[in-house]
């Protein structure tokens, strides 16, 4: 068993060392800007699942109406959230994210139902494909 594990570990370590490849980026002009970070508390008015980035799965997009105002924001969450979490129209949530164009927000953190979920880290790297709080791979489906 030790030999098997050692073999797998060696393969992993060697592969990880070679893993510094760049993956396809997102559209120009639409990126996470830490200098434009905002915190918005509001109510979910609409839920969409639509393509946002080249070479990525469709994203969950929440139309959020700011509390006590008429302003609406299009909050871009991430692909895995569509299956990993069940968000409904009418739910109240707080989003921390970067303004990215008129009314668009790239979410970094969501708070709802007493829970905090990290969508991206503070530098804007998405954690829906790698991170402590995101559903990982097959766990996208979630459970009861």
């Amino acid at each position: 068993m030790r030999r098997t594990l050692a073999l797998i570990l060696c393969g992993w370590a060697a592969a990880a060392a070679l893993a510094g490849q760049e993956s396809p980026g997102q559209a120009a002009g639409h990126f996470y800007n830490v200098d434009k970070e905002v915190r918005i508390e509001g109510t979910v008015r609409e839920i969409r699942f639509e393509p946002r980035y080249k070479d990525r799965a469709p994203f969950l997009v929440l139309v959020l109406q700011k509390a006590g105002a008429e302003e609406r924001y299009f909050v871009e969450v991430g692909p895995s959230w569509f299956f990993g979490q069940d968000i409904h129209q009418g739910e109240r949530l707080t989003v921390v994210g970067s303004l990215a164009g008129e009314g668009a927000v790239i979410a970094r953190q969501l708070r709802l139902r007493g829970e905090t979920v990290i969508v991206r880290d503070k530098k804007g790297f998405p954690s829906w494909s790698g991170g402590a709080a995101r559903p990982r791979g097959k766990r996208r489906v979630g459970s009861f």
Partner: protein, 389 residues
């Protein structure tokens, strides 16, 4: 022959894992420390502390994501139970309009124990297909199918399983969510019944000696016809959740599970802390469970959860045994009360948590009347690399 097959399958997992690692987007490291006063969850309590080390790699591209993780769990007092696991998988998300999506996943995993518990060594493969749609903006319907196959070194545990689930929820303006889920599942042990007495019966956990420390033990069941054994069950679950602003959540849920056909093909059902025991899983019991959960989000992103669970379970085909391991003809019946509290702090790249739980199990089999506290401390660090956004 069996060993050769296991080696070939392990090599396939290794090659697949290496391929995934080369394309990884992110890299995570995790460390968990566990402490329990009752590792084997019997009245003959044995305490232990465990350290769990984990590595995770993920990649996401065009809806297709790859995952791989590697774990090693080290037992301090019972080193023979130390084991490593490797999990590999890929999944695919396909939109169907703006309110629906299909999800498909395929995965393989391997668990490798030290020699004392090597009969638990196994490789498994599973397939998941799911569909989610918003019937209305405040109502979600989900369908899911899961198929799995597991091959153990001790072939008695080899099995196939299939489950189908359907869930429906509804969110109300009062911040109340109601949800119901129905599940059907079937597990088929390929060859639990032995036609003849084998030359050697694996002895697990005895340090090479005849003492088995996990309970009554895995005594093979003899049947002149040999063959397999299936167990089929269905369950219905209900959940009511109430949000109190965006910082507090309260939920109560309950489920009832029925065994539709078949029985457990083993002489005993045993649960170990932290170790997946092939005789005990979601298929092996019928009964009901109820849970109350409170979640509170404190300032500075500190999350607190507290849960209480009551479970009443019967195990079809399992009888109460005497201290000498002789069946009494009385079906085994257990009730369990569990309390768990968890405190978690999320930093941008780091998550740390501490959890305490206590379980009190009552059984008409005296060996399985026990209580135990558990302590869990964990840290997970995520480093994105290979990504340019």
């Amino acid at each position: 022959m069996i060993r050769t097959k296991m080696k070939i399958r392990t090599l396939v997992l290794l090659l697949f894992s290496t391929g995934l690692a080369v394309r990884a987007d992110s890299f995570s490291l995790a460390y968990n420390y566990h402490s329990t006063s009752n590792l084997f969850q019997t009245s003959e309590a044995l305490s232990d502390t465990m350290s769990s080390f984990g590595l995770f790699l993920d990649n996401d591209s065009e809806g297709l994501s790859f995952l791989s993780d590697l774990r090693y769990v080290l037992f301090r007092e019972n080193p023979g139970l130390s084991f490593g696991t490797v999990n590999l998988g890929l999944d695919y998300l396909k939109a169907s309009g703006t309110k629906s999506a299909f999800y498909f996943a395929a995965g393989g995993s391997g668990s490798f124990f030290r020699s004392e518990w090597s009969p638990f060594n196994h490789l498994s493969f599973d397939l998941i297909a799911a569909f989610k749609t918003y019937l209305a903006p405040s109502s979600i319907l989900k369908l899911q199918s899961r198929s799995a196959y597991a091959s153990f070194r001790y072939a008695l545990f080899d099995h196939l399983s299939q489950s189908l689930s359907l869930s429906l929820d509804k969110f109300f303006p009062s911040l109340t969510t109601l949800k119901t889920e129905a599940v059907w599942k079937y597990k088929y042990f390929l060859h639990p019944f032995l036609r003849t007495l084998p030359e050697t019966i694996p002895v697990m956990g005895g340090g090479g000696g005849p003492v088995y420390r996990g309970g009554h033990g895995f005594v093979p069941v003899y049947d002149p016809y040999g063959g397999g054994s299936g167990i089929q069950s269905a369950s219905l679950a209900l959940l009511a959740a109430q949000g109190l602003g965006s910082r507090v959540g309260l939920s109560v849920s309950g489920s009832r599970q029925w065994t539709l056909s078949g029985t457990n093909p083993f002489a005993s059902i045993e649960e170990f802390y932290l170790v997946s025991n092939p005789s005990s899983d979601e298929f092996s019991w019928n009964g009901w469970t109820a849970t109350a959960l409170l979640t509170v989000l404190l300032p500075r992103d500190i999350e607190v959860k507290a849960a209480y669970t009551y479970t009443g379970r019967a195990f079809p085909g399992i009888e109460v045994m005497t201290a000498e391991g002789e069946p009494t003809g009385v079906p085994r019946d257990d009730t369990r009360r569990s309390f768990e509290a968890r405190l978690e702090k999320i930093f941008p790249k780091l998550t740390v948590f501490i959890a305490y739980s206590r379980s009190d199990n009552r059984s008409n089999d005296p060996l399985f009347t026990w209580s135990s506290p558990y302590l869990l401390v964990g840290i997970e660090w995520t480093l994105p690399f290979g990504r340019k956004e």
